[in-house]
């Protein structure tokens, strides 16, 4: 699932976006805002993957706003009724630029562009990303791409890597916040799994590196939703 937010000073313009977003199964709309600063609050608390942003707004120009929020992991798609800003829009690394009224097909295209970007970012993050965890009185570097799965044991977690496991004092919830959310998914009360390492999935079990991990009943729905765009 990709999370998204739409900002436009005109309520009716937001209605159109809402409708389009609802049609796309892998988009999860976290809210629509006529006030960009309300949107900013929400995004500061929970970053989103895609931001649909109007340019001409009374309190702040969308282009300036996108500079202010400056979220590297958010794909910004500008929407505007009048095209004089097109070039400037791309100067702030916009993913796409939609002219209102927006056709659904064109909107879909922009969403796929954004998705590609977000997927790319995730894989980048995974390839180059790492974290340090405290273990046996030292800080140990863990490359994210090596993580097979993480098991929670009350106050401790065990990070399984090929050939070894690192035990550290941390909760599953804490580590989940440090990991790329699109790759590392909670499958069970005691397990976080990286999607790319899954070998096969049955109705209630995941297999990673010869280990069978159960899918928790209460996590099943969100797990399969997150897997959704990987399932064919």
């Amino acid at each position: 699932m990709l999370t998204c937010i739409a900002v436009d000073d005109e309520p009716l313009a937001l209605e159109v976006l809402k409708k389009y977003i609802a049609k796309i199964y892998f988009l999860d709309l976290k809210g629509v805002f006529t006030d960009p600063f309300e949107a900013q609050k929400v995004m500061d608390a929970n970053p989103v993957d895609i931001l649909f942003l109007d340019i001409q707004m009374p309190d702040i120009n969308g282009i300036e706003f996108s500079r202010i929020i400056n979220k590297k992991n958010t794909a910004v798609v500008f929407t505007t009724a009048f095209s004089e800003y097109a070039v400037e829009g791309f100067n702030v690394d916009a993913i796409d630029y939609l002219l209102k009224p927006i056709e659904y097909d064109r909107f879909l295209k922009a969403v796929y562009k954004a998705k590609e970007y977000v997927d790319y970012l995730t894989s980048q993050e995974l390839q180059e990303g790492y974290i340090f965890v405290k273990s046996d009185y030292q800080m140990v570097k863990v490359n994210l791409k090596e993580i097979l799965y993480i098991e929670g044991l009350d106050d401790y977690i065990k990070i399984y890597l090929p050939g070894k496991a690192i035990l550290t004092l941390m909760t599953l919830k804490t580590i989940a916040q440090k990991l790329p959310a699109r790759e590392f998914i909670r499958a069970h009360r005691s397990y976080i799994v990286p999607i790319s390492k899954i070998e096969h999935i049955s109705k209630s079990k995941i297999k990673i590196a010869d280990k069978e991990i159960p899918i928790g009943v209460s996590y099943s729905e969100s797990f399969f939703a997150a897997m959704d765009n990987k399932l064919s």
Binding site: E10, A13, K19, D35, F37, A81, F82, K100, P101
Partner: protein, 335 residues
């Protein structure tokens, strides 16, 4: 130096003739007169009399001068005697040019010369002026066309137009019952701008209707933070106004007086009095908007001022109050 062109050419070989003929006092007086006439006619008589349609006086003047010039040999003779009147016959052996006593009272040569100089100087001047005024007319027509174009461009703000279209699109895709009304309003304001606005004067009720449609379309776009109070008092029937005078002020209020964060009231009052229209508009200022829109503030308003000056000259009163918390405009025009 034009007058010299009309003098008979002497035989260039004959230097003595040349000196005697062209350097005697009569010839000099005669020449100075015609040269003076040429310049006076070009720079004084034509602009002062001819151009101001004072044809009678001009004709009398020219005619009088012609007679005087025709009489020049006589006058000269009367004043200074005939001592140097004719070049000495010994000089060239040609016939003397000055009039002997048997000649007619008016010198035919002088009259012809005078007429030639007159036709030339007046002709050149008039043709010149005609060409110049032709060009000015062209320039004026050009300016007017340009003004009309920029006027049209300025009036239908593309941002407003496309956003309104987008809102109508939203209404239509939601199959809203308001769709048809919105399309009607938009088409009515476009028709007004494209057809009525070409006239110098339009019925006041049309301008008011246009303004109210514009406001309603703006309302459709905005959040409920914007509270618009639009009141018309009095009867506009039978009154006339220059088109699109009010729009720049209304546009301005919507441009600077709107916020999606704070309450944004806009008050518009139109009072039609016995022989005038009192227009009042007031919007609240918002810090964020003020900081942002410093770019093209008031271009529309300064254009309107120019139009007011052109059209109502000193018969209108415009009072703009730019206070820290709000911005208001009072306009009084005769209708």
């Amino acid at each position: 130096m034009l007058p010299f062109a009309f003098y008979p050419r002497p035989n260039p070989m004959d230097a003595a003739f040349f000196t005697e003929r062209y350097f005697n006092p009569y010839f000099i007086v005669n020449t100075v007169f015609i040269i003076a006439f040429y310049y006076c006619n070009t720079y004084l008589f034509v602009p002062r009399l001819f151009d101001r349609r004072n044809f009678v006086f001009y004709t009398v003047l020219i005619f009088g001068l012609m007679i005087i010039y025709g009489l020049m040999p006589r006058i000269y003779h009367a004043l200074f005697g005939s001592i140097n009147f004719n070049p000495s016959p010994a000089a060239a052996g040609i016939r003397p040019s000055g009039p002997p006593r048997s000649r007619p009272i008016l010198s035919a040569g002088n009259i012809v010369l005078f007429l030639l100089v007159f036709v030339f100087s007046t002709g050149i001047k008039v043709i010149n002026q005609w060409l110049r005024s032709e060009q000015r007319n062209k320039e004026i027509a050009n300016e007017k066309l340009k003004a009309e174009l920029s006027f049209l461009k300025a009036q239908i703000n593309p941002h407003f137009l496309f956003n309104t279209l987008n809102n109508i699109y939203a209404l239509a895709s939601a199959q809203s019952e308001h769709t048809a009304a919105a399309v009607m309003k938009l088409s009515s304001i476009m028709r007004y701008v494209l057809t009525e606005a070409r006239n110098d004067l339009v019925p006041l009720e049309k301008e008011i209707q246009f303004t109210s449609h514009y406001i309603e379309l703006q309302k459709m776009r905005l959040t409920d933070k914007t509270i618009i109070d639009f009141t018309v008092q009095g009867d506009p029937l039978g009154r006339q106004i220059a088109p699109l005078l009010l729009l720049p002020f209304v546009e301005n209020a919507f441009k600077y007086g709107i916020s999606t964060r704070e309450r944004s009231p806009i008050r518009i009052l139109l009072e039609i009095k016995k022989d005038s229209l009192d227009f009042y508009i007031c919007n609240q200022k918002h810090l964020s908007t003020m900081l942002r829109v410093s770019d093209n503030t008031g271009i529309g308003i300064s254009n309107t001022k120019r139009r007011l000056d052109l059209f109502y000259e000193d018969k209108y009163a415009l009072n703009i109050e730019d206070k820290s918390s709000d911005f208001s405009v009072k306009l009084k025009i005769p209708v």
